[in-house]
């Protein structure tokens, strides 16, 4: 074993035994396009092996630019990116062979057949051919029947799956999905989520961007919010909902109110438009008002309750709030 082979071997061992903590480590990267457009500003981020990480952000936030920098489609203006411990610029052959990328657009050649284009990617990434693996991938994406069809004859959802098949063709350890479910119907979306969860079970690290925040809520372990090239926060999805989420208790009353009774008039209590319900907004961390406290308070006012509902804010609400707060600054 030569010295490079030896180092590789050690790194591999580290990864297997969990010593190599991060699959991807991004250190202070910035990207400036022409005309001084700052697409990324001083981003630092660590991604653990085997996690599903969702990158959220409005149009033009820099999500694609961040992914492109990691995959080698563009070069960061400054900063360092390491994939599995290797520098993406110096050791690009090692880092890129670990990565599969599903791009946002449909950059496919029209007259290519499905199976040929998938085989092409596998070869391009340095893997020798493996027809049974390709067959498995195509079957899992319901493309096997379409394998000889030219790309031009496929629907948008099928093309999306072809791109996924290409990305998986070389058995990557990391999969990037740039808006995998845009323009995809409900059933296929569900199937994609299942596929991503299945990949995670096999130990694949998945990084996805999405505008559809429900998606992040459904499958992500951690969430990062990007806006105008800056990473506003990175948090475990559950923590994020716990920290920023709000619970709203809505109490429907028998009688119509003119105003909120003095006894319960607090900062986070609102009257509904039809004046038949009162909303109590309960933050998950701050005032710990419980459901029974609320009922007790209402009982004290002498009002009679018709119905009680509780709703929790979704990741979407949290996302919108964080972006709005940032824009206010």
């Amino acid at each position: 074993m030569n010295s490079i082979g030896f180092i590789e071997h050690i790194l591999f061992q580290c990864r297997v035994s969990g010593f190599l903590k991060y699959m991807i480590s991004i250190q202070n990267i910035s990207k400036v396009y022409d005309q001084n457009l700052k697409a990324l500003e001083e981003i630092s981020l660590e991604i653990e092996p085997g996690e599903i990480f969702a990158l959220l952000g409005p149009n033009g936030a820099g999500k694609t630019t961040l992914i492109s920098s990691i995959c080698g489609l563009t070069r960061q203006t400054s900063g360092l990116i390491k994939v599995s411990g290797f520098d993406t610029l110096e050791d690009y052959k090692k880092t890129r062979s670990l990565i599969g990328l599903v791009p946002q657009e449909f950059p496919l050649e029209n007259y290519e057949s499905v199976i040929e284009t998938v085989k092409f990617t596998r070869g391009l990434f340095g893997k020798s051919s493996n027809p049974s693996y390709i067959e498995k991938v195509l079957k899992s994406l319901r493309l096997w029947e379409k394998r000889s069809t030219p790309i031009i004859a496929l629907s948008g959802g099928m093309k999306r799956r072809v791109l996924i098949a290409k990305a998986l063709s070389h058995e990557p350890e990391i999969l990037f999905l740039d808006e995998p479910t845009s323009g995809v119907d409900v059933q296929l979306r569900k199937e994609m989520w299942d596929l991503i969860i299945e990949l995670k079970k096999r130990g694949v690290t998945v990084i996805l961007t999405t505008h559809y925040i429900k998606e992040a809520e459904m499958i992500a372990d951690r969430v990062g919010i990007l806006n105008r090239g800056r990473l506003l926060l990175v948090e475990e999805k559950k923590e994020l909902i716990k920290k920023f989420g709000k619970k709203t208790i809505s109490v429907e009353l028998k009688e119509k109110l003119h105003s909120i009774p003095e006894k319960i008039a607090e900062e986070k209590v609102y009257l509904s438009e039809d004046r038949h319900s009162i909303f109590f907004e309960v933050s998950n961390t701050k005032n710990k008002m419980s459901l029974s406290d609320t009922i007790k308070m209402i009982a004290e006012t002498g009002l009679s309750i018709n119905d009680i509902n509780t709703t929790e804010s979704s990741l979407e609400d949290i996302f919108l709030e964080i972006i709005a707060e940032e824009e206010m600054r």
Binding site: C71, L73, R96, L101, E109, G126
Partner: protein
């Protein structure tokens, strides 16, 4: 060296030609026949011999060179331009493959295709005239060198081109005139003095003449000069390509 990656690009590019196999085969065969009818039969009947060679045979190396040079440039330019145009270049850029390996794949495929086509022309020509090839090894060497060099040149054009028009421009206004005026169909001795001088400023003239020498053992210039021009052009293309890749010109922003 990443052979699987190179093989993948090479095969992909060869398959592109196979998809339009009829056109790939028919076009050179038909145009060769036309050249022989027009130049060989019609004009050639007026010119009995050139440097002791029948006119029909004289134009064979010229035709092959014309074909190798133009198809190499076109195939290679198109081969790299199309993925740029469709966006599928993203794959090549995100693949664990060096610029050098990418070039070998694309340029190798373009050169192979153009050389195969020139053999098709040679084969078609046997139906019209009989001839011997004096130095077959040299012929092959020169053919491969020309095919590779012009494919590399085409690759550069494909990288540089930002629209279809630009892609066509250089082959149309530079390559085709230089090849036609480089003595594909005539010997310089047929030209008046002034035009002889002009022709000698054309680098392609030397390449075509060297190739003709490999067929008949005679030519307007010594073979060494021909090889020199060929190598110089090859080195120039290599230099340009390495500058392009060092600066990430036009692909990676």
């Amino acid at each position: 060296m990443n052979f699987n990656s190179i093989k993948s690009i090479y095969k992909f590019e060869m398959a592109r030609a196979l998809r339009t196999i009829m056109q790939s085969i028919l076009a050179p065969v038909v145009s060769t026949c036309l050249y022989f009818i027009v130049f060989g039969a019609a004009i050639g009947s007026k010119i009995s011999e050139l440097d002791g060679i029948s006119y029909g045979a004289f134009i064979i190396p010229g035709l092959m060179m014309l074909s190798v040079m133009t198809t190499s440039v076109n195939y290679a330019a198109f081969g790299i331009y199309l993925p740029k145009y469709t966006g599928s270049i993203y794959e090549v850029m995100s693949a664990p493959i060096s610029a050098f390996e990418v070039i070998i794949g694309y340029v190798g495929a373009a050169a192979t295709k153009s050389i195969l086509i020139s053999f098709l022309i040679l084969l078609t020509a046997t139906a019209f005239v009989s001839f011997d090839i004096r130095h077959p090894i040299w012929m092959l060497v020169l053919l491969i060198m020309t095919g590779s060099t012009f494919s590399l040149f085409g690759f550069i054009i494909g990288l540089w081109a930002s629209n279809w028009e630009r892609l066509q421009l250089i082959p149309l206004i530079v390559i085709t005139p230089l090849v036609f005026l480089g003595g594909s169909f005539y010997s310089t001795s047929m030209l008046p003095g002034f035009w002889q001088t002009i022709t000698k400023l054309n680098p392609i003239f030397y390449i075509i003449n060297g190739f003709r020498w490999s067929f008949f053992g005679t030519s307007d210039v010594p073979i060494g000069v021909s090889i020199f021009f060929m190598a110089a052009f090859l080195l120039l293309c290599i230099a340009v390509v390495s500058i392009i890749f060092r600066t990430g010109y036009k692909i990676r922003n």
